[in-house]
Amino acid sequence: MLKARGLSKVYPLAGRPRALFEGLDFDVAPGERLGLLGRNGQGKSTLIKILGGIIPPTTGTVDWGMTHSWPLGFGGGFQGSLTGLDNIQFISRIYNRPFKECLAKAEGFAELGAALKMPFKYYSSGMRARLAFGLSLAIEFDCYLIDEIISVGDAAFRTKCDNELFGKRAHKTFVIASHDLAFMKATCHRIIIIDGGRAKWFDRADMAVDIYASLATLPDVASVAA
């Protein structure tokens, strides 16, 4: 069980504190799929990074009762001057997994071929996503943190991601940030919407998607007040 308690993230903006979200409490049970919806800059990726341990929350705690991936779609865990191969070796050691097995699985998914011998910093965003994704599948986590990974790459890559994650690993836990409303509605059990410094939990994904679609065309509070 993932337990988040009292999570907040506050950034300084123009000399003033700006809260992305405050007092956020939620649980994610094994096998559940939690979606995160929010317009750009509202805090979806920040929340994913907090859950993944990439950045700390301003307040609150995250207790993981299961293993979790790094945020897929986030390249920060890779060392740019190392080759793809070296990165695979580095990460397999960190997670205490056999290198050869990880390499075979990661390469089988990523299909980078000779590019694995190139430094990671020369990879395109699609290549980075494929390597990150393939490696996370090789290590096998209980919970996958997904930040718009499905939108990276071509149609074949998306189909492959979909099959690997929601086909072969349908029993796993997922926390997914995406703007794809049809996908979120079909995939997630529950959804958190982050908007205007407020985060709300919805037990019904269809309601959350409906609300988020409505938000997209709504004037913001400041413009209405003016």
């Binding site: 919407i193 709300k200 679609a213 938000l215 065309t217 913001d220 209405v224």
Partner: protein, 168 residues
């Protein structure tokens, strides 16, 4: 108006549902002349406690959360009215978040309904009037709807005045 008896709630028509138009184009009937901000002390004919908050099926609370689908928020007690031209004026207050959404007041029964839409323009007090003519004695129910799905906001119902304007 003398309520004669309470009736079964209206059902089976479009009064309880609201199709959500995410493009925002279906709510153009802004009623600026009929939906005005109040600048006086409001004395309702029917006060808040006579209405139901439909999410909970309980008495309308002093302040209620509008989060959810576009839907009927508040329902009046169903009452029977004599023949004539009637005006129903619902007054409510919106917080800044709730002041971004469109609302509608619907007065009717199973044989038909009259409706006025309001696109709120910020926090404040609003009243919306709806007129309905009855050719004979008939039951009527008043609904206050939010016509788009809402992320956050609070609504305070002040009450409703009911006036008989004349013969049909």
């Amino acid at each position: 108006m003398t309520p004669v008896r309470a009736l079964a709630p209206i059902s089976g028509d479009d009064l309880y549902s609201e199709s959500v138009d995410v493009k925002g184009g279906a709510f153009g009937r802004m009623t600026a002349e009929r939906s005005v901000r109040l600048d006086y002390v409001y004395e309702p004919t029917w006060d808040r406690t006579e209405f139901r908050w439909l999410d909970t099926e309980e008495v309308c609370p002093e302040s209620a959360d509008i989060t959810g689908y576009g839907r009927v928020l508040i329902v009046s007690p169903p009452r029977e009215f004599s023949a004539g031209r009637w005006r129903f004026t619902v007054a409510f207050e919106l917080c800044p978040d709730a002041g971004r959404y469109p609302y509608a007041v619907v007065v009717g029964n199973q044989s038909g309904a009259s409706r006025e839409d309001l696109q709120a323009s910020g926090a404040g007090l609003y009243e919306v009037s709806v007129e309905r003519t009855l050719e004979a004695v008939a039951p009527l129910e008043v609904h206050l709807k939010i016509t788009r799905a809402a992320f956050h906001g609070e609504l305070r119902l002040l009450g409703m005045t009911v006036e008989r304007l004349g013969d049909p």
